[in-house]
Subunit: 272 residues, 2 copies
């Protein structure tokens, strides 16, 4: 069987390119068996940069399949140039901005770089503060100010507490932290002492014994800690602990960090 | 002056809602002076959930301004129900999927939850590994395996090294780390000893003296460390150090984490 020819996909923006990538990537996940080559070109904020971008796209177009372009370019002059490329061209603002303008009865501001820029200082500071809080408290390192946490993730080791905590902090500015559950806690079916009075902030993670065994085995191959028996025991007892203390929980075994975070935000009704 | 009435905006998805939020939020940044109330409803993956979502939207519609809906719903049955709501309805798949299908000569798979799901195990593992690497090495805590880093961010304290490192790791699975530049390094105009032979991995941050002074002062008010004179000195000497060692650098003073990350990826041509 021959390899399928490569289809080049460009994500263009006068800002970071994050919106264009997110938009395009979501659509492309719907097509299997195509070999996409993805190129992000951020900060196309001048007519000159737009022209050289079109030259680049047209060069690719001349030597293979027609490229696809996902664009989020606020400046109309820049966008008009990009639109002349020999690619399938989809721009978020071209598509939707007029409908929203007429719904709101307002003209759009055409301000560049707003979507992922620094103009919202309050949100920026919230994210940095949340990140510092998460780093300081990770895995129960510090119990100072635990009551400042909007949510405390609890779970046996290696169920995804740390990545989810950092994601909640960095992406959403949520004050999140996490705390390990030890074998003692499990045997006594008690929450860790440092969480006294904070059960309503807690959210539990569980996993699949096979999956946890695999993850722990990569870290400490052949250890009791990584054994299937130990993983089964900890997860079973952790679930019992959550139920006993009315702590909502979710299995992280087949979920992405983004999915786990979305479940936590929804279940705990966290304000971002 | 009366407050403007609130316009409710829904982000709907059968997955996490991240794409719908990104799409909608980018468009809404183009409209100033409107009081948007944003509601994300993820995991709408059944006909029943779609129906109760429409009831909720129509309830809001009946008591105020017409809501706006940004949706990324793969399931056509679910989408058809959502489309009946009394809102301005914009769905990413409605808009673009037919053009892409005909460009590629393929039908879309209609697989739900792909955009931010866990089906790409390789990417998931890369992000976790990158995050662990970033946490272990943050701020020069460990110099083990430094050569595994794709990029090493260097800067005086409080220029944004840690949030950018964690963002590069969590968002893009990039092996990033960071290393502080001390006053000794600045006075000798030498790179830290642990970075011997790694200058080509380095990327420098600088800032604005006033901004750095403000940030440090929040942490250690009135200290020499936070003084404007000290901040000016460190930034000036850091820039001289970067130039001397041919290390590319950027000012983080007015940039968001996303913008800084996009500059680093572009300048260092980092593979994600």
């Amino acid at each position: 069987m021959n390899a399928s020819p490569t289809r080049t996909v460009f994500f263009l923006s006068d800002g970071t390119g994050i919106t264009a990538e997110t938009l395009g990537a979501s659509l492309l996940t719907q097509f299997d068996g195509v070999d996409f080559k993805k190129i992000t070109l951020p900060f196309i904020n001048t007519v000159e940069k737009a022209r050289s971008t079109v030259e680049y796209i047209d060069f690719i177009a001349s030597s293979g399949l027609r490229p696809m372009v996902f664009s989020t370019t606020v400046n109309e002059e820049v966008r008009a140039i990009l639109r002349t490329s020999k690619a399938l061209f989809a721009d978020l603002f071209d598509t939707y901005i007029h409908a929203i303008e007429s719904e709101l009865g307002l003209k759009s501001t055409h301000a560049q770089g707003r979507a992922h820029g620094a103009h919202d200082q309050r949100r920026y500071n919230a994210r940095i503060d949340a990140m510092n809080f998460a780093m300081e408290h990770d895995d129960g390192q510090s119990t100072r100010d635990m009551s400042a946490a909007q949510v405390i993730l609890i779970a046996p080791s290696r169920c995804g507490k740390t990545p989810t905590t950092l994601y909640l902090a960095l992406q959403h500015g949520i004050f999140a932290t996490n705390f390990p559950i030890t074998e003692d806690d499990l045997e006594q079916q008690k929450l860790p002492k440092s969480l006294d009075g904070l059960a309503d902030r807690c959210f539990g993670f569980t996993s699949d014994p096979e999956r946890l065994h695999q993850v722990r085995n990569e870290r400490r191959p052949g250890s009791k800690y990584a054994s299937l028996a130990q993983c089964s025991f900890e997860l079973r007892e952790a679930e019992r602990l959550y139920q006993r203390h009315n702590i909502p929980y979710v299995s992280t075994a087949t979920r992405s960090i983004e999915e786990i975070a979305a479940v936590v935000i929804q279940e705990k009704e966290l304000q971002r």
